[in-house]
């Protein structure tokens, strides 16, 4: 009897695509699920949250293409985002470089190697409730990124949560650096990879993205000259020209738990500087705290170095004017004497 009814139902559905309401008859019930290996697996999808998602206007079967009749008795195949999100798709799914970039990432590599914990698209973007990152309720929204990454990277989150970046974020400063600003979003790579934004050479550019941004730094009340001053320092020049062991931003400032110098726990607190510099310079003592860091000699804020710079600027100019004048005189004298001899 049941079989007959099913066939009948199936027959009725031929030619028309099933509406979501039909799916939610079962999947819309909160306690709907199956027993699998002795465990209850929920198959519930919130109709309210689904319709609020960016895919809310689509029907379930547009993604679950292998479901032809409802109820379905076969287990549907896992949906791939690339079913729609590929270059040249006809349904208008936005494809940028994201899926391509993800393929290069350490996450994709781990997934391919069979790590069950490695994240796929839906791990971050959710399965049924995908929302634009600009939506503040999306878990890929800037504000929620640390929580999202922290779900797996617990230690890193713990360390990051002590940082000034996280504090600023909590205080509503949305420009503050979150995980993805430094680690990149889709092409997350380990710092040892030269393509990584956090490779020894890349890390300076990565920090400078924000810390050389005059507007952003003005809003955060953080001085903006550091990246420029660093690239003019010997550490910066050495790093730029192949000395990977030269100190970069993170060598002194740390990374996840970055704190301002005023904080006693900060590695760049004057009290901690001997230890921080001592990582590379074995004789570093409290002398290293005597003087300014990240100075631009041509600016008055450089203190004594500014006066040294200014002295040499004018001294060199004066000497050269004198030397050139002397040479010009010498040449003119030579030419005049030569003329006199010829006449």
């Amino acid at each position: 009897m049941t079989a007959l009814l099913t066939i009948l139902l199936a027959f009725l559905q031929i030619g028309s695509s099933p509406q979501n309401t039909r799916c939610f008859l079962c999947h819309g019930k909160k306690d709907f699920g199956v027993m699998e290996d002795g465990k209850f697996q929920s198959l519930y999808v919130s109709p309210k949250q689904f319709s609020a998602s960016i895919h809310g206007k689509f029907t379930c079967v547009q993604c679950h293409t292998d479901v032809k009749v409802i109820p379905h008795f076969i287990r549907p195949q896992k949906v791939s985002c690339l079913q729609c999100h590929f270059e040249g798709n006809t349904v208008g799914a936005p494809v940028k470089w994201m899926p391509e970039k993800y393929k290069d990432s350490i996450h994709a590599k781990a997934l391919a190697e069979g790590n069950p914990n490695a994240p796929d698209c839906e791990t971050c973007h959710t399965t049924h409730y995908v929302k634009s990152p600009s939506d503040s309720t999306s878990q890929t929204n800037r504000r929620n990124i640390p929580d999202l990454c922290g779900r797996c990277h617990i230690k890193q989150f713990e360390s990051y949560s002590k940082s000034i970046h996280y504090k600023a974020l909590e205080n509503g400063m949305l420009g503050a650096a979150v995980c993805t600003d430094c680690h990149q979003e889709h092409d997350v790579l380990p710092p040892s990879d030269p393509r990584s934004a956090l490779s020894a050479e890349g890390v300076v550019r990565t920090c400078a993205k924000c810390h050389a941004d005059t507007l952003l730094m003005a809003r955060a009340d953080v001085p903006v000259q550091q990246p420029e001053a660093y690239s003019e320092s010997f550490h910066g020049i050495a790093l730029e020209n192949g000395m990977v062991k030269a100190a970069n931003c993170t060598s002194c400032h740390g990374h996840h738990d970055i704190l301002p110098a005023s904080d006693p726990n900060s590695p760049i607190n004057p009290k901690n500087l001997p230890k921080t510099c001592g990582k590379c310079h074995p004789h570093a003592d409290k002398n290293v705290a005597k003087g300014k860091v990240h100075i631009i000699p041509s600016e008055r804020s450089a203190g004594i170095v500014f006066y040294v710079y200014t002295f040499f600027k004018w001294f060199t100019l004066a000497v050269l004017v004198f030397l050139f004048a002397h040479i010009a005189l010498d040449l003119s004298g030579f030419i005049r004497r030569k003329h006199a001899r010829h006449e």
């Binding site: 192949g242 003592d285 290293v288 100075i295 004594i304 040499f312």
Partner: protein, 297 residues
């Protein structure tokens, strides 16, 4: 009778002929022949005298040109050579650090294998510079020639007078070129510029080279000052060498393409009299005195 004599003979004959024609006088053959012979002889003698005088002049000039004085001893020359090689190495490996944003610097680091290699080369140059500085201090204290040269290099009021006189001379306000001693004010300027530069560059350079050693001794801002001073003085020294020193010893039309004295040690008598008349005179009086003393009484 050779060709020249024949020509002379013909010329004399013609001269007498023309004169007689003009004056409308006749001479007997014998007298005319004697006159011609005498005329030929006088002309020949005059030409001969002229030629001998010219030869004598050229010979003397050659002699004075080939007459050389030893201006710089071997020790002095080797110091300059070491300094020159060291400074060139330092400039070539140092400027790319100062101008690290330029394409030339990028190419330089690409070619040398990065700063890890170029800084080793820089320190080779630095070692040469340090060696020559110690060497020079020993030279001007422990050797007689060195002490004497150093005394002559000390600035004196005469240098200021020479400078003013030279400006007048160059402007055409005076015909008198300043009479320099062993070292002109131009050479003294070069010497003291290097002296000042060496002190600054070596001190700041050592601080930066052995930063790990000095970190426990001097405060951090001293390193900032050293970095700035090292970079700025390097620029000044490079410009002074390229503009001033190279003009005086290379591009100056009087010495172009270069003045070899600092490498050979020799200076011609001609140049000596022209460029260092006072030293020349002193040298002559000294030699004369020596000679007089040597003559047995």
């Amino acid at each position: 009778m050779n060709k020249a004599d024949a020509r002379l003979d013909y010329a004399a004959d013609k001269m007498i002929g023309e004169l007689l024609k003009e004056e409308k006088v006749e001479l007997d053959e014998k007298f005319r022949a004697v006159l011609k012979g005498e005329l030929v002889e006088r002309i020949r003698q005059h030409v001969e005298d002229k030629r001998r005088q010219e030869e004598e002049r050229v010979r003397k000039e050659e002699k004075s040109r080939r007459e050389y004085f030893l201006r710089f001893g071997l020790n002095f020359r080797l110091q300059h050579l070491t300094l020159a090689v060291g400074v060139l190495i330092l400039i070539i490996t140092g400027l790319p650090i100062k101008f690290h944003d330029t394409l030339v610097a990028k190419i330089f680091f690409e070619m040398t294998g990065g700063i890890a290699v170029s800084r080793v080369i820089h320190r080779v140059g630095a070692t040469l510079l340090i060696i020559v500085s110690v060497w020079h201090v020993l030279f001007i204290t422990a050797t007689r020639t060195g002490r004497n040269d150093f005394k002559q290099l000390l600035p004196t009021p005469k240098d200021l007078k020479d400078f003013v006189q030279n400006i007048k001379y160059l402007l055409g306000l005076s015909k008198q070129k300043p009479r320099y001693g062993r070292f002109s004010y131009v050479e003294k300027f070069d010497y003291w510029a290097v002296y000042w530069g060496m002190v600054i560059m070596i001190l700041s350079g050592l601080l930066l080279w052995f930063n790990n050693f000095f970190l426990g001794i001097v405060p951090k801002f001293m390193f900032d000052i050293a970095t700035e001073v090292h970079s700025d003085e390097a620029m000044l020294a490079t410009l002074a060498i390229v503009v001033w020193h190279w003009y005086n010893v290379h591009f100056n039309p009087e010495v172009f393409p270069f003045n070899p004295t600092i490498f050979t040690g020799n200076i011609s008598k001609e140049k000596m009299i022209k460029d260092h008349p006072l030293e020349y005179e002193q040298m002559i009086t000294k030699t004369e005195a020596q000679r007089k003393k040597d003559v047995p009484r």
